[in-house]
């Protein structure tokens, strides 16, 4: 049976993705990322990405990319950069309302589930309400108050939640269950990179179908479209 292999992928990811495969692309990678950070806008990036991912996905089984395949993509990309200005959030590390450091929390032996309390039982990992932050921090008398800590309490007093800026977002037409991926004993790093050891949340990668499929195939997980597409 023919299985469609195609997804709306995000530009940066494809480029980085290639960067892992051979160095011809490294230079390409460098240039592109710059170009993108200066110019590219979400929607057009996607539009272009469709083209690129297309040419990439073709050979998604053998993970090599020839110049020929990338040519149309490049042309489209440049067209995009010329026509639109803006900034892609992909791969970037947006400023969060509070300079939150996963490292510190991890070093203090705080389990993922303390804040992300659904991560092994539900479809989403979950984000802690400001109350959770307050619970702990109001108890730590010895820690010297910093501006960021103050902010926590400001938000709490205002009765509003902390407007964390989203790093990872899957398309609305996909179904993803965090639970089963955790239970499949994947390392957090596989998807979230070195978040646990970094002070600043950086988007490890933008998940595209190409990447999901590869892993699913390696893990012998279901590759039926309806497993993820809704």
């Amino acid at each position: 049976m023919l299985r469609p292999r195609h997804g709306l992928s995000d530009l940066i990811f494809i480029v980085r993705n290639k960067s892992r495969s051979n160095e011809f692309l490294l230079s390409f990678d460098g240039k592109c990322c710059k170009v993108l950070h200066q110019y590219c806008i979400g929607w057009l990036a996607r539009a272009i990405a469709v083209a690129i991912s297309g040419s990439v996905v073709n050979s998604s089984m053998t993970r090599e990319y020839s110049t020929r395949q990338l040519l149309p993509s490049l042309i489209l990309l440049l067209l995009g950069c010329m026509l639109f200005t803006g900034c892609s959030k992909a791969g970037a590390s947006p400023d969060q309302p509070i300079a939150f450091s996963h490292r510190i929390h991890v070093e203090n032996q705080i389990d993922c589930s303390y804040c992300h309390d659904y991560y092994e039982d539900y479809d989403v990992a979950g984000m802690p309400p400001v109350a959770t932050c307050v619970d702990c921090h109001s108890l730590m008398f010895e820690e010297e108050p910093t501006a960021d800590l103050e902010k926590i309490f400001e938000f709490a007093d205002a009765g509003t939640e902390i407007p964390w800026v989203r790093l990872y977002e899957l398309p609305k037409y996909t179904h993803f269950s965090h639970k089963w991926h955790v239970r499949a004993e994947l390392d957090c790093q596989t998807c979230h990179g070195d978040i646990g050891t970094s002070d600043r949340a950086v988007q490890h990668m933008v998940y595209n179908m190409d990447w999901c499929m590869t892993c699913h195939e390696e893990q012998a997980a279901s590759v039926d479209c309806l497993t993820c597409h809704k």
Partner: protein, 734 residues
């Protein structure tokens, strides 16, 4: 080349646009949307909250599916005896009523002239203050009366209103329900002493005859009857029941039926008695039942055998003698048989007669108390609210009569309206407009500014069943005591709304004195708990718990209380406990109906719509978009004409026609059908709202504007098949 550039640009912009639509998902880049401070929920995890349906008398118990803090779907409550996990089209569309863009979001006070539709937002405190002062003013002058107009309320909502009207001085409780089937209830009262809809054991019946009642589409309880008929057909291997429909139009029910008897409107009673005639003549009736449990049989037999010979009736009803003979025999031979009357057939001058005749036919077949027959409702053992030394309330009256009384409104100084829309569903000849305009103060409890609320001075936004405490005692039921219970599924209402009973409580408190004493509860929830404590005390049925508190929580979680183990009963409550073959009610029935003299006039047949009922669901886009099962019409209405009639009038499908009655006229597209008597034209109720939110406003036509209001009758306000109309073609279909 210019063209190429031009196109390139259009392509790019176009493409961007396309992609924007394509990729734009609801929700933003912020993570906030998945964090609702008050209502903790886990994204992707579904919750089900039991609730009750108030769209029709069916009274289904429902489950509301809540996801990500939103109400997203309605499902039947599998445990509930009426719905058994199923629901109808109208029930399924309910979430749209809660999130409707045109819902009233807070109390409104009229600005400018009545009906001008200019409103000022006020706080609940101000609104209630206004209400209290108005009512207090009414109370001061003994000549003044206050009227509380409601639809056919059920459960403790009704008790609250009754209690309110009976504690206040000179207050009347008026009722308006266009498809109320008042005659059926009266008939039941006359023959069995039980003034409630019967419970039918359809699952075990073999033969079901509906006289006028479109039990499967809109009237009474489509879900309960739908399940029953399905079971009657294919529920029992090797045993397939039969469904016969007697009505002038091929309704969804008649279409689903095995046999359709298109009886002339008004001849139903005679037809039923002709069936009785055959059964009596051939002595096919249930002698055991007749002898032991009925009275007045002989007189009845004499009358029927004398007057209702099929030979005579057939011509008048337009149903062949053979058919009458055959159906009558089948009914007797292949029982248990159930006969149900309702809708248009039980309205108008002969309405009561029809309903009584149907009861008698059931009695002849010994249907009462028999497996696969008829049983009586049993009320849940609620505990009484503290009794009060009341001023005896005026009996509940039909609204239409009041509006017709000469100095009708003179006495009435203030009118409260809840759960009904008389401006839309009363014949315009009832003079409702002038009636309302003469009343100094009109307040409406409603979620939407509908045709009636438009005429009000004060609008008190009602909460949807998903946002309020409510209970319900379904009628018609299934013979066992059933009480549905629903609690708000959100920590607070979506908008600044309050449910009618809660408002009454606050008003009572505001009025003080005996009224305040009559309502000793802080909230409607408390009042309900007080009543429901009786069910706990009974310690039987689906929810039995040690403490009253735990009972309440369990009942809320289960969506109500019912007792499946109770023995079904059909013991008549007449003085002598016998079924009474009531004759006087049959006097109105005769064979005097000759073929209509004036062939240019047709009988207008008005029926409740599958999607909208009497029109209260017309504001929901899902239902407007729903193609009618029989006419396939969406977002509008059509008038149905028999093919032969149409060809005579040279009208073809889609032509615009004008229908004129003595009281009004309207223009609507025609639809030619085989499923209608040639001397009848059919219009569906429900559409033609002047005001009811953006989806209903100005859609289709309202047949009630053509009807002649009946006066004097305390059973029905409009004869749904007694008005005659003329039809002329206005323009060809395009």
């Amino acid at each position: 080349m210019k063209r190429r550039d031009f196109l390139k640009n259009t392509v790019v912009t176009g493409t961007a646009g396309v992609l924007f639509d394509a990729c734009a998902p609801p929700g933003s880049d912020q993570i906030i949307p998945i964090l609702i401070p008050e209502e903790e929920f886990i994204p992707g995890v579904e919750e089900f909250h039991p609730t009750n349906c108030v769209e029709c008398p069916g009274g289904c118990g429902l489950l509301a599916r809540k996801m990500d803090g939103r109400l997203v779907k309605i499902e039947g409550n599998p445990a509930h005896p009426i719905s058994r996990g199923a629901s109808c089209a109208r029930g399924q569309a309910l979430p749209q009523a809660m999130y409707h863009p045109d819902r009233v979001r807070g109390p409104l006070i009229r600005e400018g002239a009545r009906g001008a539709g200019q409103w000022r937002n006020v706080s609940w405190d101000d609104a209630i203050e206004r209400l209290v002062s108005e009512l207090a003013a009414v109370q001061e002058d003994p000549n003044n009366t206050l009227a509380f107009l409601t639809g056919a309320l059920r459960g403790h909502r009704l008790d609250m209103v009754r209690r309110f009207t009976s504690t206040l001085e000179a207050t009347r409780h008026l009722v308006h329900e266009p498809f109320g089937d008042g005659a059926v209830l009266r008939a039941h009262a006359l023959t069995t002493g039980v003034e409630e809809f019967f419970a039918y054991d359809l699952e075990n019946a073999n033969y079901l005859v509906t006289v006028g009642a479109s039990v499967l589409d809109a009237s009474r309880s489509p879900v309960r009857f739908g399940r029953g008929v399905g079971h009657l057909r294919q529920g029992r291997p090797g045993r397939r029941g039969k469904l016969v429909a007697v009505q002038p139009r091929l309704s969804t029910t008649a279409a689903a039926a095995d046999e359709w008897l298109p009886a002339r409107p008004g001849s139903e009673a005679s037809l039923v008695l002709a069936l009785a005639h055959v059964i009596l003549r051939d002595e096919l009736y249930d002698t055991g039942f007749i002898e032991n449990r009925t009275s007045g049989f002989e007189e009845f037999r004499a009358r029927v055998l004398a007057d209702f010979d099929p030979e005579l009736v057939a011509g008048m009803a337009g149903v062949s003698v053979e058919t009458l003979e055959r159906v009558a025999t089948e009914m007797a031979m292949y029982g248990p048989t159930i006969v149900v009357a309702g809708d248009a057939a039980v309205t108008g001058p002969r309405g009561l007669g029809t309903a009584v005749a149907v009861d008698h036919l059931n009695a002849l077949l010994g249907g009462f108390g028999k497996k696969g027959g008829i049983f009586f409702n049993q009320d849940p053992p609620f505990s009484e609210w503290p009794s009060l030394e009341t001023v005896v309330p005026a009996p509940e009256a039909l609204f239409a009569n009041l509006t017709k009384e000469s100095d009708a409104s003179s006495g009435i100084r203030a009118l409260l309206i809840s759960d009904t829309n008389p401006v839309h569903t009363l014949p315009s000849s009832a003079g409702i407009d002038s009636f309302l305009s003469e009343i100094p103060f009109v307040a409406c409890f409603t979620s939407f500014v509908d045709d009636t609320a438009q005429m009000a001075d004060l609008i008190l936004p009602e909460s949807t069943p998903f946002e309020r405490f409510d209970d319900d005692v379904p009628s018609p039921s299934v013979g066992i005591p059933v009480a549905t219970l629903s609690a708000p599924m959100f920590s607070r209402p979506l908008y600044d709304t309050m449910s009618m009973p809660d408002v009454l409580l606050r008003v009572a408190a505001g009025l003080g004195g005996t009224v305040a004493e009559a309502f000793p509860w802080a909230s409607y929830e408390e009042a309900l708990r007080a009543a429901w404590s009786g069910l706990h005390a009974a310690s039987r049925g689906s929810v039995a718990e040690s403490t009253e508190r735990r009972f309440w929580t369990r009942a809320l979680a289960a969506g109500g209380w019912w007792d499946e183990d109770v023995a079904l009963n059909a013991d008549c409550l007449t003085s002598d406990g016998l079924y009474r073959f009531e004759l006087p009610a049959l006097e109105s029935i005769g064979l005097d109906m000759t073929a209509a003299g004036d062939t240019s006039r047709f009988t207008l047949y008005v029926y409740p719509s599958t999607a909208f009922g009497d029109g209260r669901s017309a504001h929901l886009p899902f239902l407007q978009e729903l193609a009618d099962p029989m006419t396939s019409v969406r977002w509008g209405s059509v008038v149905e004409l028999n093919a032969s009639t149409a060809s005579e009038l040279n009208i073809s499908d889609g032509d615009l026609v004008e229908i004129t009655s003595d009281t009004g006229s309207l223009r609507v597209r025609a639809q030619v059908t085989q499923g209608l008597r040639p001397d009848v034209v059919a219009l569906s109720a429900g559409q033609g709202h002047g005001e009811y939110g953006r989806y209903a406003r100005g859609r289709g036509v309202n047949p009630f504007s053509l009807l002649q209001a009946t006066t004097g009758s305390d059973l029905s306000e409009a004869p749904l098949q007694a008005t005659t109309v003329r039809i002329i073609k206005i323009e060809e279909t395009s």
